[in-house]
Symmetry: C2
Subunit: 352 residues, 2 copies
């Protein structure tokens, strides 16, 4: 059983051309030769069935891509280059079509990793009586002293983020709504009907949830600039992730509600969900954008003196100007300011 | 919840004196500075509740030590030096006393890691609706070209192992028997009654299962000698682990039943289990030693010309001579030879 599964993963290990991988799958350990003079970045993120994903709307291929994406995003947030991945997967003992699942999952994982220059080089396959758990370990490289940390924000830094927020959370609500309406039809299919919600918007929101884009190139450019104080990826929502920066850097932050980037696709999605009775009318788009989580955009802080240069640098990579959403303060809380007043939103983020 | 748990693990992270750890727990990634000119060894092993362990007989402290031990053993089998560990733990959402569990588990994990020069530097904590899953990632260092692989065995090499086999499997049977007899009394306590089985034997067998000793020093010495062709740790039993060597090296092996090391403690344990009706009378100690698994002794192959030097080297570290149990052949199967004849035992090992 386990050997058959491992052979599925071995088949899609794509490190054959990588001279840094001396031994891949098939020995007690993998053996790699890191570049001289680089530091290593190591991250691990686990996805648990029923908590982080549900197979009623997650195709194994996309689950593989998302598993890679959330880990790639951590390397991006440090400004590193993703290199070597290790998969530890616990599959239910009574699961049907286990090898087919492994193949599709592995193909998704490998396709996402390779798009960012990383490859799967080892791991572990175990059985479980219950929910599937997928754990990826990703190792990246970074030039010495260049990693972007959470602990270096300074009062008066400007706060930027790299893209629209809340799209992933809206996509998840759409997926749950679609799969509850059509219980016989498992898995998301981009060709589904969408009279009430434009097809492009639906597709964008759902893909944002299933297959988020880690900002690896942007992270590297921010790190190489040497001008950015602090960076994090938005996995739990700005309210929580910015609170991590404030805690580690011993600062506070003001966020301006009017500056939070919400997309037209997200507004359409929320209108559709309200029309279906899925969402209550009083959930504001800005609130969802700040607390929804899983957008995997980068959030960084930069002194005002360098802000224009960094804006231009980010715009060249993103194809649009990044969004300035607030500034670091000498306080110790994350405050949301808008027309209605000021609220403390420290750690008011998404919990799975 | 998750932040409280992480703070438990942060508290026991013992890398504060290690200059190679530039950033530990608390950022998107850990940042480490590996030594120049070394290769990295990376291994990951997951333990699933109900499959690999049962909390009715596994104290959290020992579960932590075992989690470290099985991963340390993989580094030992490659002849490496264990350095940096990352923990990914999925705890049931409805679990009681989660912080206490995390503290005791973390203390066990850290105590075992630090005894071998490694430390916990990062990880991930998630919730699950079902069984606990514990995944450790361990990174070690090894001198270039010195890692002991599975793929280098040659016909006529002699096969050695570093200790008695089958003790862990016997210890597990004892633990299950004890916890089934005393359902009100959770967890193993070394002071339990043992009229029918000498206390020292019971303790040895149970500790062998709960807290196996990874042969890190021996593995390094074997690798440094430059004379050993091949090495693996015995996690699934000789029949399976030696089959991995044969598969990767394209060779076969003869194992001599009379040469398999079975301890007096194990024979006492099996006698006791038979007297309690737990085991059928016809399970031979040698069979259990070859297929029981989880002994975490090292098995290595060495050309006959160097065998005496390596025996002496291993004896200095172990305190006793290692056991010569067979030899590599030009075939492709693992054959057991004893007074009763010859049997093919390829991959007839332990499956969890």
């Amino acid at each position: 059983m386990e050997r058959a599964l491992i052979s599925e993963f071995t088949g899609i290990c794509a490190h054959h051309g990588d001279p840094s991988v001396l031994v891949g799958i098939g020995d007690d350990c993998a053996v790699i030769a890191p570049a001289q003079g680089e530091n290593l970045l190591i991250t691990t993120d686990a996805l648990v069935e029923g908590i982080h994903f549900d197979l009623s709307y997650f195709d194994p291929f996309y689950l593989g891509r998302k598993t890679a994406g959330v880990n790639l995003s951590d390397i991006a947030a440090m400004g590193g280059i993703p290199r070597w991945a290790f998969l530890s997967i616990a599959l239910p003992l009574d699961m049907e079509h286990k090898r087919q699942f492994a193949r599709r999952f592995g193909l998704g994982l490998a396709s996402k990793l390779s798009a960012y220059g990383a490859s799967l080089v080892g791991g572990d396959t175990v059985g479980t009586r219950n929910a599937m758990t997928v754990t990826l370990i990703l190792i990246g490289e970074t030039r010495q002293q260049r990693a972007l940390l959470r602990s270096k924000a300074k009062a008066r830094d400007l706060i930027y983020c790299s893209g629209y927020l809340g799209e992933s959370a809206t996509g998840l609500l759409l997926l749950k709504h679609i799969s509850s309406k059509r219980p016989g039809r498992h898995r998301y299919c981009p060709q589904g009907p969408g009279r009430l919600l434009p097809r492009a918007a639906r597709r964008r929101l759902i893909e944002h949830h299933l297959d988020p884009e880690p900002r690896v190139e942007l992270g590297r450019a921010l790190a190489d600039s040497g001008l950015v104080h602090c960076c994090i990826d938005i996995s739990d929502g700005v309210a929580t992730d910015l609170a991590h920066i404030c805690e580690e850097s011993r600062v506070g932050a003001n966020i301006y509600g009017e500056a939070i980037p919400v997309s037209r696709a997200m507004l359409s999605g929320l209108r559709f969900l309200r029309s279906q009775g899925v969402m209550e009318g009083n959930v504001s788009p800005v609130r969802l954008a700040l607390t929804g989580g899983e957008d995997f955009e980068l959030l960084w802080t930069v002194p005002a003196a360098h802000a224009t240069r960094i804006e231009a640098l980010a715009a060249r990579i993103l194809g649009y100007r990044p969004f300035r959403i607030g500034e670091i303060t000498s306080g110790d809380r994350v405050m949301l300011k808008d027309r209605l007043g000021t609220q403390d939103i420290t750690f008011k983020g998404y919990e799975h």
